[in-house]
């Protein structure tokens, strides 16, 4: 188990910049999630750490040892591939002991290690089966066991749940989180699913087009997105955005005659340079309340659609040309087409620069 440090890592394939200057510092025992849409360079980053790709530039450290130019076999990392890559001609026992047999571990030590991981991953009855005939869930546990049996410096997981079906995925997700904490192994987890990231990560690194757009704890990212992209990417559904014109403590919502007056004095200070300019207001669906009666700062808007979602409902409105979603419980009777009053919780308002999408206030 080790600290892992990436220093302005770059990997270019010809003119394609798969990753373009990624720096991350991972503490020992942490679970870091690399999150981002498909093609943003998550897998490439992981493969560079494993040594399967040689970075174009930048450095990789395990603890204080530089490993940038070591071969994969010299790095002692554990990796679970997207479709597990269990060796089909070997049984489970042979699969999980394969990494140990590479470095001539004595028989006794192998047996002790096997007992340990069999217990952790509950592989008791499976050891003699061919790995290729197991159901995906079991295959995954075998792949994990194989990855950690050598006490690797770091465990690398590339979309480990994507081969499982939805229901099972959630189960395995929490299982995985618990196991990681129990073994206490430094882990880098790649996914494009923000729910997985939110549920598992000690730290989430959001990537886009080969660069890190923001990293931090799940809560930090959720409550204080540093850009429109992060606000939109995290959360189910993502953050709502409305284009506004700022004028002296007032936000005029574009495409409507609505306006909001801001009360927080810290907002005024930050917005002073945006006087008379356009900004983007962002707010999460659960931080908007609905009322039947008029209210100060309440926006009266007709309901576009209602979608039940378990304990909550998602209520859609149209503000300007954008759909605006609000999450609310079942207490208020709501009818499509009727007007209700929307009240924005000012503590949770985020404001972004219109042209760059960067946060002004979060």
């Amino acid at each position: 188990m080790a600290r892992v440090r990436l220093e302005s890592l770059k990997k270019h394939y010809g003119s394609v910049r798969a990753i373009d200057g990624v720096s991350i510092n991972i503490e020992s025992g942490q679970l870091v999630v690399l999150l981002g849409p498909s093609g943003c360079g998550k897998t490439t980053t992981l493969r560079c750490i494993a040594g399967l790709e040689q970075p174009t530039m930048g450095k990789i450290y395990f603890d204080d040892r530089e490993v940038t130019h070591l071969s994969p076999s010299e790095r002692n990392v554990g990796m679970v591939f997207q479709f597990y890559a269990l060796y089909p001609h070997m049984n489970v026992y042979e699969n999980i002991t394969f990494p140990l047999r590479a470095c001539r571990v004595p028989r006794k030590a192998i047996e002790t290690k096997v007992k340990e991981v069999v217990q952790i991953f509950q592989l008791g009855g499976l050891l003699r089966y061919k790995a290729s005939i197991l159901p995906p869930g079991d295959q995954q546990r075998v792949a994990l066991a194989r990855a950690v049996i050598r006490d690797p410096n770091v465990l690398l997981l590339d979309e480990p749940l994507s081969a499982l079906d939805e229901k099972f995925r959630e189960e395995m997700r929490s299982e995985l989180g618990k196991l990681q904490k129990r073994i206490g192994i430094t882990t880098i987890y790649v996914t494009h699913d923000q729910r997985e990231a939110m549920a598992l990560g000690d730290v989430i690194v959001v990537m886009k087009d080969g660069v890190i757009v923001q990293m931090g704890s799940p809560e930090e990212l959720y409550e204080h997105p540093q850009s429109v992209f992060v606000g939109n990417f995290l959360g189910t559904p993502g953050m709502n955005f409305v284009e506004c014109l700022y004028d002296n403590g007032l936000l005029f919502l574009e495409g409507t005659e609505h306006r909001l007056s801001l009360k927080r004095s810290d907002l005024f200070a930050k917005l002073s340079s945006y006087q008379g300019k356009e900004v983007i207001l962002g707010i999460r669906p659960e931080y908007v309340s609905l009322f039947e009666k008029s209210f100060e700062n309440g926006l009266s808007i007709a309901i576009l659609a209602i979608e039940p979602a378990g304990r909550y409902r998602l209520v859609d409105f149209l503000i300007g040309e954008r759909v605006f979603r609000v999450r609310t419980d079942w207490s208020l009777p709501l009818i499509v087409g009727h007007k209700v009053y929307l009240y924005f919780s000012e503590d949770h308002i985020c404001l972004f620069d219109r042209s760059s999408g960067e946060a002004i206030v979060t």
Binding site: L52, P72, F83, A85, P88, F98
Partner: protein, 295 residues
Amino acid sequence: MNNNTYYESIIERKSRLSVITRIIILGLFLSFTVFPLFWLFLSSLKDRLDIFAFPPRFLFNPTVENYRGLFVKTFLEGGAGQTDFALCLANSFITAGLGTFFAVVLGVMAGYACSRFHFFGKNDYLFFTLSTRMLPPVAVIIPIYIMFSRLGLQDTRVGMILLYTMANLGLAIWIMKGFYDSIPTQYEEAGLVDGYTRWQIFWKIIIPSVRGGIAATMGFCFIFAWNEFTFASIVTTRYAKTLPPRIAAALGAAGLDWGQVAAAGFILIIPVLVLFIFIRNYLLMGMTFGVLGRR
């Protein structure tokens, strides 16, 4: 549910009808493929009278005289002693066997290289190796004949082994490449991460995964070399002569001894038959060049 049973009944009715057509087609097919073999076997056990009997006899006194005659000289052929049949049989085994062995060993490695690595002129090379197999033997027989006589490979087993290695190599590379292509590179990457070198991974992970492909390749190569007639009949004359030209020669020599020809033919078929039975599943995989093959 109702609909299902309805469709099932249609399918069943259809299948009852088609069983009869299938039997007819199969019967025709077998009479073209298996019956000649069967007839060959019967003829090899007949004496001269039974062979020429008309109508053809299915019941007769079997004799192994034809088989004995293949190996031991008859009175007509100049008295006691052995014929060269045993020598030819041994030659066939040695040249086809070793030719296959070398072609497969080289093909297993070259196919891997062609599947996994990029190198200059790879596609041209791949096409070239296959084109050696597409040329009719007659087209290359003269240069090969000249090369062989200059190099002293004329009528030697070494020459024939080289020839069959060369002739089979292209096919071996292509079949093996197909099998390697169907293995995701993730297995090798997993092996690398697990602490193995490329060479170890090749032996411990890749080779066991393509055992079927190797068997198929061996089958194809051996059958080609074992049956090969054109090269053998031109390049070999006596010491390295293989069975196919030997049998062809026997057809013309001491009159037409159909019994002996049938016996020799049957001996020629046995190894192919045995090989086929052992690796028939793999051969089918080889036909699809591993693309559809399961590992």
